[in-house]
Symmetry: C2
Subunit: 315 residues, 2 copies
Amino acid sequence: MKLAILGAGAVGRSVADLAADYGHTVVAIADSSTATVDPGGIDIDATLERKAGDDGVGTADPDEIFETDYDVLVEATPTTLGDAEPGFSHTKRALESDRHVVLANKGPVAERYEDIRALEAESAGSIRFEATVGGAIPVLSTIEDSTPQAVTAVRGVLNGTANFILTRMAAEGLDYEHVLAEAQDLGVAEADPTFDVDGTDAALKFVILANVLADGGFALEDATVEGIQNVPGSALDLAAEDGRTIRLIGEATRDGVRVGPRLVPENGPLAVTGTRNIVQIETRNAGSLHSSGRGAGGPETATAVLSDVGRLPLL
Amino acid sequence: MKLAILGAGAVGRSVADLAADYGHTVVAIADSSTATVDPGGIDIDATLERKAGDDGVGTADPDEIFETDYDVLVEATPTTLGDAEPGFSHTKRALESDRHVVLANKGPVAERYEDIRALEAESAGSIRFEATVGGAIPVLSTIEDSTPQAVTAVRGVLNGTANFILTRMAAEGLDYEHVLAEAQDLGVAEADPTFDVDGTDAALKFVILANVLADGGFALEDATVEGIQNVPGSALDLAAEDGRTIRLIGEATRDGVRVGPRLVPENGPLAVTGTRNIVQIETRNAGSLHSSGRGAGGPETATAVLSDVGRLPLL
């Protein structure tokens, strides 16, 4: 397939880097102000080097992406809330041109799910969004293959930054502020870590899951969300005396979405460590499926994007 | 899709039972000596009741299955080794009629993988075999979506009977013979448990995985296999003193297949309990994905079969 990649952050760059391994050609890539386009396939190494040298990805205008002959738009621009712009409009434009869209951007499917599905219904193209939930872990494709109707709930840890912080607080007996600073030094938490530590990032993912289970009906505002900023070190010590620990756990069912710090058994499946993620998919006929793995990172998320590309029908 | 089900054991019956939930019609089902056929869809409840009453599945001849107008042959007859007959011939016949085949029977893809792929190449139909490895856990589809080339190894626990026995031996300090009898009483182990306890069942699954990774080249005879029959209770006690336990672990890489009892950390991911299974899929770009769930059972395996049906292209 011919890929047009919108977004040249860690995910967009990794998709460009790995596309050929999956048998695909990158015909265009754009960041917020520059682009490079080549119908025969861009020079990926040169483009990535240029970007690494802070010189954008090329000399074209990002809008030229949409003039290119591509099969799949990879939308990897930063997640935005509310109207989910400009990600929503990018997606709309591709679907209205009867092209496929693979989202790494959570905004359109968390905040405007029904609108996106309506556009998809009118298009020869399809949308897929495995990369929006759980990085490398195949969550949405598992639900799709089981059929959503057979899934009753999805629960788990879907934010690696918060999980890392709680793991370190428990392991070292350190307080939140101290471990957050450590996480930022390691690049595990961003300079502005708000969405990771206040539960928003996890909530967006569980909202997407609830939308898949219920075929729409949820946005971030519908989720009940509590973050980890107020978890004291003493709570973790107390939990440990009882063979338990605390993790930022989310749950999505057809009835709603909740995210918050919860007590979990110390050696149980939900007590994943470090930046690892886990989902527990509860099914009607096959009990509980647990999948864990790396929930974030350029290459990790790119594998989810490229998995999705592989499952798209030819146009 | 129209399904023709060969085999009316737990798996075949569960596929018939759940097919409608997934939007499919059962046009035929056969056990070893009887069949029932109806191009408009068989009366599933009546057929399952008849079978439960030990009166076969109908009055037709099993061979009539192949005369029916079906899209997908579900091959759920018992796994056989060596020439993998009659499962291999059933698969061949369907592919030669340009029909799809979904296997729950491990024989053809463990013992004669290249032959099956050659038949598939000449057919308008495709083969899928998620149900042959790990029951409800989506192992093969995960490898497929990641692309096999991106997977370096698959490791894990893929036999629930052996795992149950080892779990109980460790938990209760009982010896193998005692726990085996308990497992048989519970229906977790068969009257003839040989293939479960001697590692053959697990080995067949890891051989299938090696065949997927390497695109053929392996059969059961190529695997190095050791079972659990000689694990003494004392070994588990000693392991526990060290914070470890013993599980029947298998591993498949492009270089080969090994199955045997191994020491694993007591609270680590490989120490699944009871009849649960787990696979660790090692990838080039996304670290290690772990998936655990119910590895066996009628409904569990049927969900894997029906997942596969959902991924087949229209004929």
